[in-house]
Symmetry: C2
Subunit: 563 residues, 2 copies
């Protein structure tokens, strides 16, 4: 684009960076540093903050408060135009990015001369039935907050329930994946639980189970055997079971079934596996390999001179003729930051008419925290274990943190966490959407007579068996409901308790709609009302005028559990 | 109940406290202190933490992190059995409380000898059309977190939008109610905005409007005229407009209409008015006056010797023959704590066979922060203004905070807030439910051709006008949709952009269902699929097999706004 500056014509190029993670944020910084006013730089990110991924497990464990593990992008990128928006699509011919910002429904187009794609990767858990519906993930700050709230929720529930099977499930925590994220999450979660138990007198430490499930025959694949074995031993000393050579066969809200056939009662599954390209990157239709954008060694997208990619979303060869996976840049912060430097240099020299250089970097090592002030480290060929490794881990990341304020806050968090009890405040409790898919294994109870009428169910796949006691004969009546069928609609009659019991007749997937959601539709959507009108008539009821459904009634006496 | 202790029979009574606010938490504490092992004390609360209400505006403004403004009930009530559960109903004859705990659908019954009701009050905004659908509230910790995220979201949006009317609405903030909560919320919100603007270079301070709407002819009704006038002046010096004698006529997602006929473009309405009994208290059917439980002066519920009530949910006379409102205990923390002491003493003496005494207490004063280190205070007849009052406010509440750890954290928060910039990290962005009611005023645009197809709409009341351009003739075709009708269903055809424009033909209430929610139903609910099948057929499409709807398609080229 042309801009007029101090009397003479200067060419200002517009560089748009998509994504505000390690790759994108550091690229935007480096570009500004190199090009100054010679370029307009804009960064587009769905959140207005930069997440320091390595600290997520500590946020999940509550040793760092969420807001302190992140920095506002506007703090870190003073002279860059930061746009909080979601990327919809890119028109590479017209050099236009289409985004949606905030609640605004009108699309916004952003022009560019150079486009930098740093959109990272998304989770794809669809390969293992039930994992997508029932597993927590550890990719975003929200994920970490949700995990902490969920874990404390399990302790709260285990403390007061009188149902042994519920208590067992609540106190069994499973982590899928034995990489850095999985191991650190398990270690930190165990810390949180161990330090919190003193506030839950009715939970015996021996009742808590923490399990890491790893498909490979070892954990921490990026590290040496020796360190991996040490880590495994340390974890088991801390009461964390590591199941090697074990994958996930299927999952429900109450169970995890392993590929070795074991059935684990658990209400907590954290999945740290399953990388996939983010949907928007897939829609771009750029050349890709193994789910990542193909770039040449200068980080330019193959076949394009004005589109670049780096970080987890790009497949970056470290040699001209890469053989195995080790010849490609791993998806780590350490590499993303170095890639950002090279990319900025290459874009700058392209603009100035120079020649882009290939990205070349060798890992300086790896660090992992095991929780409880133990860790493993492999740096410049040296190997460290235990407390020293953990200390190195903390201070390496502290130094790595962008922004002085953030550093001070993180240090302060660590200090206070060292001298005060871990808070068991359970914030942010709503972790499931009001309309959601739920899986059941054959035989699972979906609900029982007397339970709270808390939702409306439709069968997607499989079949359920509904049992009620005939009021006249007193005999049980059984009805089977298959795909497309529904149950639980009695709540539109104002019922607050179930009069029937429903169990999965086979492995079944249902769509559950919370009571309030369902009643809103029944309240307002005519087709819905028409569909249920006959059912209501059979029960001697009819719809109130549109927009006035109450859906409330006095609870009916029911068999209950003693508190 | 009977319990055996050291050889002799001792009577242990079970006391169940419902609610963990100022009234409930302090009552449980005082009961334990007085009765020790002579009583089993249980506290039931929906959250596992105690909220220090007076600090909520500061949480909303980000000067205190949410987790630090609250204390886990388990920290504060070491020898009390704390149950995180929601109260469903009470059977006063059988002395049983029915609760639901966690995700458990089975009801749990809790027996009691004495029941203490301290469930506070709920918000009822239904009297003003649109307020319930579009106003934020400031009662819970979640409310405060949501407000902060919302305010920062408005700054983010105002910084990048190129639509003047959107920017104006995003930068206009309205608070309804000029009591303590309203005034402190407005003052703190203004602080947050003023301190954050340096990160939003495209927002001019003069573009920010903060408005307090109060129906009475003055604010802070609990304080002297002089202090109220000083507060009003101070607020207006800080750029906060106080509109007295002004109520809310109606509200939408983009506008607030006052009783004086003024129409204010705003996307932020914080309602601090509209007290109502909580639904569960209403269901209990206890004697009540003015929406509060009637108790005698000993805090026993009228007509019962084993049920007690205190705090905001109870109407407590301060004299035997109360005349005006001033003869009843105000709903403040100061009073709730004193009520808790008297209540504990009365239950103890009832158990020990003594005589309960009437509650008698006179306010020691009132304090309000105006933000920006200014406040007003009225203590022991003395009046303070400005900085001294603000300082007194902070230290009074710091001393008042239960739990040393919390005190230290709050102090630390204040200190760090004093020396570091206010973080503009926008956490917790989802503030609206995926299925929700939305109000429009006659003439409002609901969506325009080219907009994102982000939801399905049904008309509850009113009517909308849908306009499309006939592909053949090029002429506009207009269709009116009334109650029970729906629009926006094109998204089931895979559309990602609107092809029509819809505006409210009159004041209209619609039910909006987010795209994902709607597609889940279309994916799984046969009745839904059948209903839309003809519509799809008309467009030469049909449903994929149950459970496999994709609902995605390439975006179609559309007129867009320049970024």
């Amino acid at each position: 684009m042309l801009g007029l500056a101090t009397g003479r014509i200067v060419v200002t190029s517009r560089i748009v960076v998509l994504g505000g993670g390690f790759g994108g944020m550091y690229a935007a910084r480096a570009l500004k540093r190199r090009l100054g006013s010679a370029a307009e730089i804009e960064l587009v990110n769905a959140e207005n903050y930069f997440v320091f991924q390595p600290l997520l497990p500590e946020v999940g464990a509550g040793s760092i408060t969420p807001a302190h593990a992140v920095s506002p992008l506007r703090f870190l990128l003073r002279d860059v135009f930061v746009r909080k928006a979601t990327v919809d699509s890119v028109d590479f011919e017209r050099r236009l990015v289409t985004v949606f910002q905030g609640v605004q429904r009108r699309p916004t187009e952003i022009g560019y001369d150079h486009l930098v794609i740093a959109l990272g990767q998304a989770a794809d858990l669809s390969k293992m039935p039930g994992l997508e519906e029932h597993a927590l993930t550890m990719r975003t700050l929200e994920d970490a907050r949700r995990l902490r709230a969920h874990v404390i929720g399990q302790l709260e529930h285990a403390q007061i329930t009188r149902l042994p099977e519920v208590k067992r499930g609540a106190l069994t925590f499973c982590v899928v994946g034995g990489g850095f994220s999985g191991i650190e999450t398990a270690g930190e979660m165990k810390d949180l639980i161990d330090r919190s138990l003193k506030f839950y007198p009715d939970i015996d430490p021996s009742e808590v189970r923490m399990i890491v499930v790893e498909f490979a025959d070892r954990i921490l694949g990026e590290m040496s055997r020796g360190l991996a074995d040490y880590a495994t031993r340390t974890l088991s000393e801390r009461g964390i079971e590591v199941k090697l050579g074990t994958g996930v066969a299927s999952a429900t809200g109450t169970q995890l079934v392993t590929t070795t056939g074991e059935v684990i009662d658990t209400r907590t599954i954290v999945a740290t596996i399953g990388n996939a390209p983010s949907p928007v990157v897939r829609r771009m239709g750029l050349p890709s390999e193994r789910g990542r954008i193909s770039v040449d060694r200068t980080l330019a997208v193959k076949g394009r001179r004005d589109v670049w990619a780096l970080g987890d979303c790009a497949l970056i060869a470290l040699k001209d003729a890469p053989q195995g996976p080790r010849d490609y840049a791993p998806p780590t912060a350490q590499f993303a930051v170095r890639e950002a430097e090279q990319l900025a240099e290459n874009i700058a020299s392209t603009i100035m008419g120079g020649t882009p250089q290939p990205f070349d970097y060798r890992s300086k090592g790896a660090l992992a925290s095991l929780g409880a002030r133990k860790g493993v480290a492999q740096v410049f060929g040296l190997e460290l274990k235990g407390f020293p490794a953990w200390l190195l881990w903390r201070f390496y990341y502290l130094a790595f943190l962008p922004g002085l304020t953030t550093r001070i806050f993180v240090l302060l968090n660590w200090f206070m966490d060292g001298i005060s009890p871990r808070s068991v405040v359970q914030l942010h409790t709503r972790s499931v959407p009001p309309t959601r898919y739920v899986r059941y294994r054959a035989g699972d109870v979906i609900y029982e007579a007397g339970n709270r009428s808390d939702g409306f169910y439709t069968v997607v796949t499989g079949a359920v068996e509904m049992t009620r006691t005939d009021p006249e004969t007193g005999l049980p009546q059984i009805r089977t409901i298959g795909p497309g069928g529904h149950f639980g609609e009695r709540l539109i009659l104002g019922a607050t308790r179930r009069h029937t019991s429903v169990r999965a007749a086979e492995d079944t997937k249902v769509l559950v709609m919370d009571r309030e959601e369902f009643l809103k539709l029944a309240d307002s959507f005519q087709a819905f009302r028409d569909y249920f009108a006959p059912y209501m008539a059979r029960h001697g009821m009819e719809w109130p005028p549109l927009g006035e459904t109450e859906g409330q009634a006095a609870p009916t006496p029911v068999p209950v559990e003693k508190g």
